[in-house]
């Protein structure tokens, strides 16, 4: 699974990296972010594109699988 490590990056870099990965990846992708607002942004971004986002909390960070 393609992985996007956007931990610690400022807005809107996590979204831009997610968009880029979604364009090139065929299957599901995994996005790592560290802030709650980045998590919501990525989830919303996936939903807006008709994809399913599943988030798991990993310590103080978030792992979002988009498929």
């Amino acid at each position: 699974m393609k992985e996007v490590d956007a931990r610690g990056l400022s807005c809107p870099e996590p979204l831009m990296m997610t968009a880029e990965a979604l364009k090139s990846a065929k299957g599901p992708i995994k996005v790592l972010v560290s802030e709650a607002h980045q998590r919501t942004n990525v989830e919303k971004f996936a939903k807006d594109r008709g994809k399913k986002a599943t988030t798991t909390e990993k310590g103080s960070e978030f792992e979002i699988v988009i498929e």
Binding site: G8, L9, S10, C11, P12, M16, S34, H37, T40, N41
Partner: protein
Amino acid sequence: MNLSDSKKKLALAGVVCGLVAACLAYFGNPANMAFCIACFVRDMAGSLGMHQAEVVQYARPEIIGLILGAFIISVATKEYRSTGGSSPMIRFVLGMIIMIGSLVFLGCPLRMVIRMSAGDLNAWVALIGFILGVSTGAFALKKGFSLGRAHETNKTSGAVLPAIMVGILILATCTTLLKASQAGPGSMHAPIIMSLIGGLIFGAFAQKSRMCFAGSIRDVVLMKNFDLLSVIVGLFVVMLIFNAATNRFVLGFNTPGIIAHSEHLWNILGMYAVGFAAVLAGGCPLRQLILAGQGSSDAAVTVLGLFFGAALCHNFGLAASGTAINAETKELVAGAVSTNGKVACIICIVVLFVIAFTNKRESAK
């Protein structure tokens, strides 16, 4: 409660913040500043003696409230995270530039919207510059601009700025140490407790809604996403109604008393620098205060840059003057940008281009 997942909720957050701003303007804040972040940080820098402009010195409880409001709500909802280390000195410079650009135009993006809602056409002209600046920043982002990753730091590090704010609040209310203007905009303010509560509410809603004036336009330019823009529209509509209802709506350019000038080129360039710098810093001045409240030391350094920039502006005459009526002759004196201000603004824009195209994301190098 999540306020950022639908346009309606976002607009509602904008309406609440607009109501807070309108109330504070009604109860004593300078009407078209209402809740201007740049103006209020500048006033606070003055109260701490960082500059000696006697008409703009007052420890604004709104700024304290914003940071503490964001701090409290983020701790309560477990969103507080102490982080730092994403190019802090570049962020300091960006904070300085945001303040210099703001004081050439005379207001931060929030005040630009408030001035727009009061019919000040200068603010509509400045909006052009702001959009161009945000677009330039967005272009740099597309080219791979990044200030690098922030990392988790000791829990207390993120609480330093909120703690300093509590300290300033104590000094402002219990001692006579801090300076306070006897005349001019700095002397106009709502009662302290009201300003503080207003700031807390505004801060909490801004934290939950991720409200950002640069981000809203950036999202439109970059991703055709209009969600964040609905917050701004909500705030604009409330202030428009308030201004119309209290006879404060005056359509025109050279309106005395609202602390604005009509040098179009410099209104555009001032806000161009602000928009550009805010996108590179990851948020407008308001958003920087909120991020600093929720534990980001990087945003806190940007806020320190705002203070430093405010001191520079008033110590070296970079800030513009507003159109006013001469009290004795009753003549209209047009506001203007000083030569120093113009030179500083150009330098700021050059520095922004250097920052924007020399900092790349790891993978984009």
